[in-house]
C-alpha cells in the first residue's frame, strides 16, 4: 500500500457538558500519515492541544478493534465515517486526501444526550436490554449443550443478529432516531433459538415498551440504519421483530 502524508482541517463539535451550549471549533493538523487510524489522528491532535495548554477533545473509545462499540462520532455527516461496515476506530486516514476538511460531531438523538464534546450517554440501550433482552436462566445446572440441536442455518442467522455491538450508529443514522435495528437484532437472535422460546412474547413487548419510554422515534423503514451499521446487521431483523410483535399480539391476548 502506498503511504502518504496529509494536512487537514477539522471542524469538531465542542460542548463542555450536557447543560452547556455547544459549538464547532476549527483545528489544523499536519503530517497525518495515511496509515493512521482516525482515532490515532485524534490522539495526535489531542497531544498537540495538551502541549499548547488547551483542553483535548473528549471522545469515547476503548478496544480500537471495531468490537466494543464504544467509539461513536459523525464524520462528514455519517456515523463512523465514509467506509461501509466500519467503526470509527477502524477507519483509516487513507480514506481522506491531503487538504480535506473533516466535520466531526457526536451522535444526534434525544435518547443519547451529550455528556461532553463527542461523548454521549447510551444508557438507554442497557435499559432496553434490562427490559427483556435475555434468557431467564440461573447459573448452575442447564442440560448438556448438545441436547438441543439447532439447525445450522438458524444458528448462523442468530449469530448474524447477535453480532450487534450496541454502538448506536443505527439510531444516529435514522432521521427519527429509531432504535429498532438494535432492538430487532436482540429480539431476532433470541426468537431464532429454542432457548429464547419461553419468553418470546413478553420479550418483544417489554423491549419495545422500554424503547418508546426512552424517547427513540418510530421506524419508517428507510434503511439508513442497515446502510450505516458497522456490523452489517440486516434490516430483516426489523421485519422479524414486527413479525414477532404481531405474532405475540395475535396469539396471546393476555399481554397488553
Amino acid at each position: 500500500m502506498e503511504h502518504y502524508n496529509m494536512n487537514l482541517t477539522l471542524k469538531v463539535w465542542r460542548q463542555a457538558n450536557s447543560e452547556a451550549q455547544g459549538n464547532f471549533e476549527i483545528f489544523s493538523v499536519a503530517n497525518i500519515s495515511s496509515e493512521m487510524s482516525f482515532l490515532e489522528m485524534f490522539d495526535v491532535l489531542n497531544e498537540q492541544l495538551v502541549e499548547e495548554g488547551k483542553e483535548p477533545i473528549a471522545f469515547d473509545h476503548d478496544c480500537r478493534e471495531g468490537i466494543c462499540g464504544m467509539c461513536s462520532m459523525y464524520i462528514n455527516g455519517k456515523p463512523h465515517g465514509p467506509w461501509q461496515q466500519n467503526t470509527t476506530c477502524q477507519l483509516h486516514m487513507r480514506a481522506f486526501k491531503d487538504g480535506d476538511t473533516i466535520v466531526v460531531e457526536p451522535w444526534r438523538a434525544k435518547a443519547f444526550p451529550v455528556i461532553k464534546d463527542l461523548i454521549v450517554d447510551r444508557g438507554a440501550f442497557d435499559r432496553i436490554i434490562e427490559a427483556g433482552g435475555y434468557v431467564s436462566i440461573n447459573t448452575g445446572n442447564p442440560q448438556d449443550a448438545n441436547n438441543i440441536p439447532i439447525e445450522k442455518k438458524k444458528a448462523d442467522e442468530a449469530f448474524a443478529a447477535a453480532a450487534c455491538i450496541g454502538c448506536g450508529a443505527c439510531v444516529a443514522a435514522c432521521k427519527n432516531s429509531s432504535a429498532l435495528l438494535f432492538v430487532g437484532a436482540k429480539v431476532s437472535q433470541l426468537a431464532l433459538l429454542p432457548q429464547g422460546e419461553p419468553e418470546r412474547k413478553s420479550r418483544v413487548f417489554d423491549m419495545l415498551t422500554q424503547m418508546d419510554k426512552e424517547g427513540f422515534g418510530a421506524c419508517t423503514s428507510t434503511g439508513a440504519c442497515e446502510a450505516t451499521c458497522p456490523k452489517g446487521i440486516s434490516i430483516a431483523n426489523i421485519a422479524r421483530l414486527n413479525h414477532e410483535y404481531i405474532r405475540a399480539a395475535v396469539l396471546d391476548d393476555t399481554v397488553h
Binding site: 490522539d43 495526535v44 462499540g69 444508557g123 436490554i129 435475555y134 439447532i150
Partner: protein, 667 residues
C-alpha cells in the same frame, strides 16, 4: 525446594480429582434470607466480573458492579476472537478433563497450580452448557450439534467458537444475565466509575473509593467483600492488544494496601498480531490463533529477500515451525511460535518494510478446501479458478471477519496475498496472588479472571482465558465467597463515615490534586510511550540480568520525572480523560519496576520470556525447576529512600502431585 511455604494457599487435602467436589461439599453456606443483608462489590464487568455479579445477584446477595466504560457490555473480554475450551470430547478424539488439565499445565510451562487448573478443567463443560442455555450462538455443524476447532499446544479439537467473535458472544451472554439481575434489583451498575482505592478495616476489605468519571465526584461504597475482576496489565508496554482503557490501577492500589502481586513478569506474547506500521500507532490488533489451524507460517529461505510473498516459489520458503516442530507444526503454543518468529526476524529473514514480520499464508488451505467443496458439489475436473473460488468461500465463512479486519488495518487483501504477522504483548499471566478460594492476602478481597495469577502458569494456552474468566465468575466464586460471607452475617454494614473511609478518600483526593498540580511540560502519552519502550526492550520477549538491572533504574528515574513533568489540563470536577490516563500511567510505571525485579529474580527461560543466559545448546528455552518451582508473590513494603519501591519476595512453592514436570517438547 526446602523453602517453607509461608503463604497458605488453602489447597484442599485429598486426591486431585476430588479436591473441588470435597470443597463444595464442605464449605460453609449462607442462608437465603441472610444473603439479602450481605453486600458485595464487583470491580470490572468483563467475563469474570459480569458472570460473578450476575451469579451472586441470582443467589440473592446485594451486588454493586463497577466499570469504567459506558456499559458493562464493552469490557475487553468482548474482543477475544478465537474460542473457549471445554473437555466435552464431542469429537471423540480422546479429550477428557485430565487431558485438558494436562495440556494447560504443560502449556503453562509447569508454573501453574495443579489444583486450580484441575478445577478449571472440571467446570469447563458446565460453562458451555450455561452459555448455550443463555442463547449464545456458538458455531454448529449441519447436524445441529456444536462445532469445535483446534488451538495451539493441543492435539484434540476442544475449542468452541462463534466465528471470530467468541469473546463478544460470551460477554453478551454474561452481560444479559447481569442486566436481568439489574432489572430484578439485585445488582446495581455504576458505569463510568473507576476504583481508586480499597478500604481496609481491621484487616478486611470493606469497600472502595470510586471516582465518577463524568462528574469527578469521589464516592464511598461499602461491601462485606470486594471482588477485583479488572483484567490484565499488558498496557504497561504502551503498545499491546489490550483495550486502551485496560489498566492495573485497582489491582495496584490493592497491592499497595497489602495484597501480594504474583508472577508480575509473566507476560504472554501472542504470535499472530498485525505488525506495527508507524510511530503514532496506539495499539496492536491480534489475529486469532485459530488462523494457525489452516494458515501456514513461513519466511523466505534467503536473507533480505525483497520479492513479494506470492513471487517466492515454494522451494524457497522456510516453513520454520513445521521444520522445527513436526508433531505440532503451526499449532505449537504461543510462546514457542512467538520466539521462533522473533528468532527468524532477528536472523534477518523477516519480511515487509520493517523486516519485523513473517508470513501467515492461506493459499494452500484455499486449494485444499476448494477441492473438498468441488467434491461435495460433484464438480469433476474443476479448473484451478473454480477450486480457488470454492476454497475462498470456505475460508471466508471460517475467518471472514478476521480477514476483513486485516484488510482494513493494512490496506492489503489477505485473500490474495499472505498476511504479515509479528508477536505482540497480549495477556498477562501474573496478577494478584490468590489462594484456592480466589482470595488475596487481604481478607475479604478477591481477584478473579486475568486479574489473578493462578491458572495459566508462565504461558496461557489459547482459548483458556475465556474459560478461566467464566469459571471463576459462574462456578467458583459463588462457593468460595459464601464460605467467607457465612461468618460475616454477624457484622452489620459499616457506615461509610468510618475513619478508614475518610482516610482512603483523602489519599485519593491528595493524589489527584498532586497530579493536577505538577503542571509540567510532558504529556501523559509521551511518558507512557517511554515506559513502554523500556519494558519492551528490556523486559519483553528476551531479557538479560544486565538489561533488567538497567531497566529498574531507568523506570525509577522515569517515575521521578513523571512527578516533575506531567502535564494535565482541565480540572478534577469534570470528565477529564487526561487525568484518568495519568492516574493509570503512574501505576503502570510503579508496576513496571516490579515486573523488572521479578524478571531479574527469575533467572530461567520460562513461558513467553526468554532469559538469554538460560538456553539449551540449540537455542530453546531452558527452565530451572530445581530453583524456580515457585510462584513469586511480592509484598509492597513502602517507598525506599533510594527512590525504588520496597518489595519483598515471598515464595509459594508449586507442588506437582500428579504431573511430573518435564522438558516441554512439541517436536
Amino acid at each position: 525446594m526446602a523453602e517453607k511455604n509461608i503463604l497458605d494457599n488453602k489447597i484442599p487435602e485429598g486426591p486431585l480429582d476430588q479436591k473441588w467436589t470435597n470443597y463444595k461439599g464442605h464449605c460453609k453456606l449462607v442462608n437465603p434470607s441472610n444473603k439479602r443483608k450481605l453486600e458485595v462489590i464487583v470491580v470490572g464487568t468483563g467475563l469474570a466480573g459480569a458472570s460473578a455479579a450476575a451469579t451472586l445477584g441470582e443467589l440473592g446477595y446485594k451486588v454493586k458492579a463497577f466499570c469504567y466504560q459506558d456499559s458493562p457490555r464493552r469490557a475487553h473480554s468482548i474482543a477475544a476472537q478465537g474460542g473457549i475450551n471445554a473437555a466435552k470430547n464431542y469429537q471423540n478424539d480422546g479429550d477428557s478433563v485430565f487431558r485438558l488439565f494436562y495440556d494447560t499445565i504443560k502449556g503453562g510451562d509447569y508454573r501453574a497450580r495443579e489444583a486450580n487448573v484441575h478445577r478449571l478443567s472440571e467446570v469447563s463443560g458446565n460453562i458451555i452448557d450455561q452459555c448455550v442455555a443463555q442463547g449464545v450462538p456458538f458455531a454448529r455443524e449441519y447436524g445441529g450439534l456444536l462445532s469445535n476447532r483446534s488451538f495451539g499446544g493441543v492435539q484434540v479439537q476442544r475449542t468452541f467458537y462463534a466465528a471470530g467473535q467468541t469473546g463478544q458472544q460470551l460477554l453478551l451472554g454474561a452481560y444479559s444475565a447481569l442486566e436481568r439481575q439489574v432489572a430484578l434489583g439485585t445488582v446495581t451498575i455504576y458505569n463510568r466509575h473507576e476504583m481508586e482505592e480499597v478500604v481496609v478495616i481491621d484487616g478486611k476489605a470493606r469497600g472502595i473509593i470510586a471516582r465518577n468519571l463524568v462528574t469527578g465526584e469521589i464516592e464511598r461504597h461499602f461491601g462485606h467483600a470486594v471482588l477485583l475482576c479488572t483484567g490484565g496489565y499488558g498496557n504497561v508496554f504502551f503498545l499491546s492488544t489490550n483495550a486502551m482503557g485496560s489498566n492495573v490501577t485497582a489491582a495496584w492500589k490493592a497491592h499497595r494496601k497489602g495484597a501480594y502481586f504474583a508472577n508480575p513478569c509473566f507476560t504472554q506474547i501472542h504470535p499472530t498480531c498485525i505488525p506495527v506500521s508507524g510511530e503514532n500507532q496506539s495499539k496492536l490488533t491480534l489475529m486469532s490463533e485459530s488462523l494457525r489451524n489452516d494458515g501456514r507460517i513461513w519466511v523466505p529461505k534467503q536473507k533480505n529477500d525483497t520479492r513479494k510473498g506470492n513471487d517466492i516459489p515454494e522451494d524457497e520458503r522456510d516453513y520454520y515451525l513445521e521444520r522445527r516442530y513436526p508433531a505440532f507444526g503451526n499449532l505449537v503454543p504461543r510462546d514457542v511460535a512467538s520466539r521462533a518468529a522473533k528468532e527468524r526476524c532477528d536472523a534477518g529473514y523477516g519480511v515487509g518494510t520493517s523486516k519485523q514480520s513473517v508470513y501467515l499464508d492461506f493459499a494452500e488451505a484455499i486449494v485444499r478446501y476448494g477441492k473438498i467443496e468441488c467434491g461435495k458439489h460433484g464438480i469433476t475436473d474443476p479448473s484451478a479458478a473454480v477450486i480457488q473460488q470454492h476454497g475462498l468461500d470456505v475460508v471466508k465463512e471460517k475467518y471472514g471477519n478476521l480477514f476483513d479486519m486485516y484488510a482494513k488495518i493494512t490496506g492489503e487483501d489477505p485473500y490474495l496475498t499472505p498476511m504479515r504477522i509479528f508477536p505482540a504483548v497480549h495477556y498477562t499471566m501474573g496478577g494478584l496472588w490468590v489462594d484456592y478460594e480466589l482470595k488475596t492476602t487481604i481478607d475479604g478481597l478477591y481477584a478473579l479472571g486475568e486479574c489473578n495469577f493462578s491458572d495459566h502458569g508462565a504461558n496461557r494456552l489459547g482459548a483458556s482465558a475465556l474459560m478461566q474468566g467464566l469459571s471463576d465468575g459462574y462456578f467458583v466464586i459463588p462457593y468460595t465467597l459464601g464460605n467467607y460471607l457465612a461468618d460475616e452475617i454477624y457484622n452489620q454494614p459499616i457506615p461509610t463515615t468510618h475513619p478508614e473511609f475518610d482516610k482512603a478518600e483523602k489519599e485519593v483526593k491528595d493524589r489527584i490534586s498532586k497530579l493536577l498540580n505538577v503542571k509540567g511540560t510532558e504529556t501523559v502519552d509521551s511518558l507512557h510511550r517511554r515506559l513502554g519502550k523500556i519494558m519492551w526492550d528490556k523486559c519483553g520477549m528476551a531479557r538479560t540480568a544486565e538489561g533488567l538491572t538497567e531497566a529498574i533504574n531507568e523506570i525509577a528515574q522515569l517515575r521521578k520525572e513523571f512527578w516533575e513533568k506531567v502535564k494535565i489540563p482541565g480540572s478534577d470536577k469534570e470528565l477529564n480523560p487526561e487525568l484518568e490516563k495519568a492516574g493509570r500511567v503512574i501505576d503502570f510505571i510503579e508496576l513496571g519496576e516490579l515486573m523488572c525485579k521479578d524478571a531479574l529474580d527469575r533467572a530461567e527461560s520460562c513461558g513467553g520470556h526468554f532469559r538469554e543466559e538460560s538456553q539449551t545448546p540449540d537455542g530453546e528455552a531452558l527452565r530451572h525447576d530445581d530453583q524456580f518451582m515457585y510462584v513469586s508473590a511480592w509484598e509492597f513494603t513502602g517507598e525506599n529512600p533510594n527512590g525504588l519501591l520496597g518489595e519483598e519476595l515471598h515464595k509459594d512453592q508449586l507442588v506437582y502431585e500428579v504431573i511430573k514436570p518435564t522438558t516441554r517438547n512439541y517436536k
